[in-house]
Amino acid sequence: MNMIVETKNVTKTFGMNGIAVEAVRGIDLQVREGEFVAIVGPSGSGKSSLLHLIGAMDHPTSGEVFFRERPLSRMNDGARTDLRAREIGFIFQTFNLLPMLNVFENVEVVMRFGGLAKRERIQRTESLLKTVGLAERMRHLPNRLSGGERQRVAVARALANQPALVLADEPTGNLDSTTGTGILELLREICNSRKQTVIMVTHDFRAASYADRVLVLRDGRIRGEAGLKGVTDTHKTLNQLLELELE
């Protein structure tokens, strides 16, 4: 299968109070089309920074990120914005819905960036909201929704332009376990039925068990990796990874 994301020796250094902090240290990563990859690690391990680099939201200090073999460093702001609009969907931990727009509008607005015609935007928004179980709440403002419902809106928004890649940053971080399970099943379903690639950042190994492949990140480096596809005892495999992380 074709590679959708590839990173080559990517590093990211932030300056904090005059001290250089290396969040990502020479990461080489390859993600295939249609794969569900979970990146796990403790807080500060660099997993979100890596996700932002992959999502064309940030620039690496060194190394290169490729999206479908196109180097992101060669793209100007307009091209990177267009990439985010058409080929990448984002799901944020804190949902990041626009408070003045209702559920329908929150999903529909990103389709404008994808250049869709109005009629198609309406049809697709209704269909997506039906898929995530919010057809009855289209005209509600975000502040009238529960956390789980907001995240489902965010999932619908991420899928609005039928992106090849969905990036989820701690998508269950602000949800109770039952609601979180519903979101994870939805992401798994996206991968299975729509053949879209999902890269999810989480510190929760239970959430990671929904992925095809799990990468453990610590101190900005990949410290372990395990494939879960076809594995019958995912619990045992994840425990082994957890031990690796605790070393």
Partner: protein
Amino acid sequence: MLLDLAWKNIWRRKLRSLLTILGVASAVQLYLMVHGVMGTYTGEINGQVNAFAGRIVIQQQVESGGGKSDLTSSTSSLMEETAEALLATGGIDRAASSALLFVPIARALMPYIPPAVVAVGLEPGHEAAYLGGLKAASGRLTLEEPDEVILGQGAAEYYRSENNGDPVGIRSTIPVGGRTLKVVGILGDAPQLFANAVIMPLPTAQAIFDRPGTVTSVILTVQNTGAVETVKSSIQAGFSGLTVSTQDDMLRSASSILDAMNSFMSIIETSILTVAVIVVMIVVIVSVMEARREIGTLRAVGAARWRIFTMVAGQSIVLSMMGTLVALPIALFFVQWGMSDYLSSVTGVLQVWWQILVTAVGVGLAASILPAWQAVRVDPLESLRYE
């Protein structure tokens, strides 16, 4: 475009938006007032000057302002003998020339514009000297009897209040200085100099206003308009202590007055609009600061910088346009009800409707530059800084 988002941003902060709109409305209505009044004023002066094409106005020279074209100056005083000598100048059309007596009945709002109502005494049979080619709305424009009077439309309106609110028309009588005069003609549309005139025979005016044997000015109509400067030179050579003004002189005088006033008013207008721009800018900047996370989210999910710019500029322009819409009826109300006694129409405001539109969009755009610049620089990662 994200104009619907701009509108929702305005709607989300209703009180703030309302106060901004009222602030803009105050500034814009003041701008419209100044602009409209200046427009009316300029039109009026130009109308006066144009009415004196091919004619020469002679007044007594005064120490200050002697060169100004205060055509209805009542401070000028010429002896009737001098006036007769002037009217005997060669090369003039005597039938269309006359000695005149101007006496204000109601004062003007501003200098260099005609009194709100002015009595004009002229020689019977020489009405054309003053009225030129003006047409009558009703009646006749000739004075045949000592107690007859011709009214401009503004003057007729003025005397309506003296007539228990009843319209003043042909055969109506009006009281002037203790005498009752009969209206024989009403002027059609005319510059204010004429619209506010109460025109009567010169002897009648001299008697009513106790100015026996004197006039305030002489108007000469030159037979050959190409010879205006020659006639002027001969008058200046033959008479001392007089101000002799041709249409060109009046134009120069009017231009210098208008230029000075326009410069002053432009400073006021610019200051007013700057206040409006700053009011809108402050509100939109605060709005952008509050919405950094949302703007970051929009950038993260693929909103291009130009879309963010249009959203912010749209918000700014909508506020400005709404303020202008509120300002328009207020300005018209003030001009109509507060100044109608002095300025004959509201056309000064109405005529600049397209300028109003351009001004509103201009204020909005100018106010949006800084906040829009701040907004388009918001990083997509800004959406995550609050997690």
